[in-house]
Symmetry: C2
Subunit: 254 residues, 2 copies
């Protein structure tokens, strides 16, 4: 049994493609946001309860829309809408990149991190094309291969996969490269506008800037035409900084 969610909403083309692929591997339950939930990171709904709307219930395929976040969908979906414990949780296929620092804001990858933190094997898939009618076809063989290998061998404890697919024709995709997240940043800026009453408001805008094009990063791999696979874990600890920070507070353990 495979549970699927995303952040572009249950109505997005990407989740429909992923659902069709996943059906080849077994029963599928989809619990995904009713509306676009991009940029929601790993946020939780705590101040109000969740509603769920049944979209399809047929042999081997159940689809539900939830008015919560992608992380809510993983929690509620795995506990209340899967008839048995899923052996894999998938998220995507996201319309747009979740490479590098984008993983931090991504609802799609928030759902994956959530799944891992709850002990599930999980994979997030993203295509480097934001358009609603993006062509997911060239990446399908890679997605199938990755799902098959994870179902067969499992993932290490606490590890999930962040998979990004270049927006290229099939013949230009060069294969899979396992790599690390690239270091990058958004040079955010805000566009200030004024409403008819003259009061200001600010629209988020910005540009993704990545100077870390090492071939062993996701950005480097994607630039070279490879599907990037980054093993990720739900732990922000910067282990290599522990000695430095211990030194900073070395007189403090009283």
């Amino acid at each position: 049994m495979i549970l699927i969610t995303n952040d572009d909403s249950v109505h997005a083309k990407g989740i429909k493609v992923l659902t069709t692929i996943a059906r080849e591997f077994g029963d599928v339950v989809v619990v995904a946001p009713e509306t676009n939930s991009s940029g929601l990171s790993q946020s939780l709904t705590m101040s109000r309860p969740l509603r769920v709307r049944k979209i399809l219930e047929q042999e081997g395929l159940h689809i539900y829309a939830c008015d919560g976040t992608p992380t809510d969908c993983v929690k509620l979906g795995s506990q209340h809408f899967c008839p048995r414990k899923p052996n894999l949780i998938l998220s995507g296929i996201n319309h747009g990149s979740n490479s590098s620092i984008n993983i931090l804001y991504s609802g799609t990858m928030g759902a994956v991190i959530e799944a891992t933190a709850n002990g599930f094997d999980a994979i997030g898939f993203s295509l480097l094309n934001h358009s609603t009618d993006a062509d997911f076809t060239p990446g399908i063989p890679y997605i199938k291969e990755i799902i098959a290998k994870v179902l067969q061998h499992g993932l290490p404890d606490d590890v999930s996969l962040n998979v990004n697919i270049p927006d290229l024709p099939a013949e230009e995709l060069k294969g899979i490269r396992v790599c690390r997240e690239a270091k990058a940043a958004w040079t955010d800026s805000f566009e200030e506008r004024h409403d008819p009453a003259g009061r200001p408001y600010w629209w988020l805008t910005g540009e993704f800037v990545c100077n870390d094009k090492d071939p062993n990063t996701d950005e480097g791999a994607l630039c070279q035409g490879y599907v990037s696979v980054v093993p990720v874990h739900p732990d922000y600890t910067c282990f290599e900084a522990i000695p430095t920070i211990k030194e900073l507070f070395n007189t403090s353990e009283r």
Copy 2:
């Protein structure tokens, strides 16, 4: 110049205490959510613009409420509401723990991760007491010490601090311990209720379960009465899993 935000809202007691502390170190700009934004992780507001309401503008202290997320507050605050680049970004003092896995959901720590990803030194402070009138007094000397040391020495690139403070009287606080995040999980469950029309809805509930009480974890330190300081970085890559995942896909780089 210090920029301060949080997720409990600009009206919370914790951010007022932190603002008073920070004023001892220089000019302060507060840009914090207008309403409670707990559990918002590092989410961004992309589908609507942001509004900002001036609360206080006096010599050395400017306070604004923003209708966005804590991460929005860091972006907008550092770019539009600080007269010069802040040399430190603080978040908190959170009403409730952000130790271990709680960092993933925390809007307070989402703001800190955001600040780090944008090149700022940043620290998140949390007290292990959820109540709105929690007593932050015992932790104040530790908060001052940590801010002073970070202002004096700086933090390593890409590293911020997740500081949690036990809810204990001053004489029972034993000092500062630099450590890693504990592995833990929420045993989430959902309480199903029915509205007057008989339709179901689900409230998130759950229990925090941590069996990783190694003294070198935040949970272990906090249990022993220490203020926990975890160096964190905005990178989810699980480096030690890269060889295993490479082996899983070893035939794939075509």
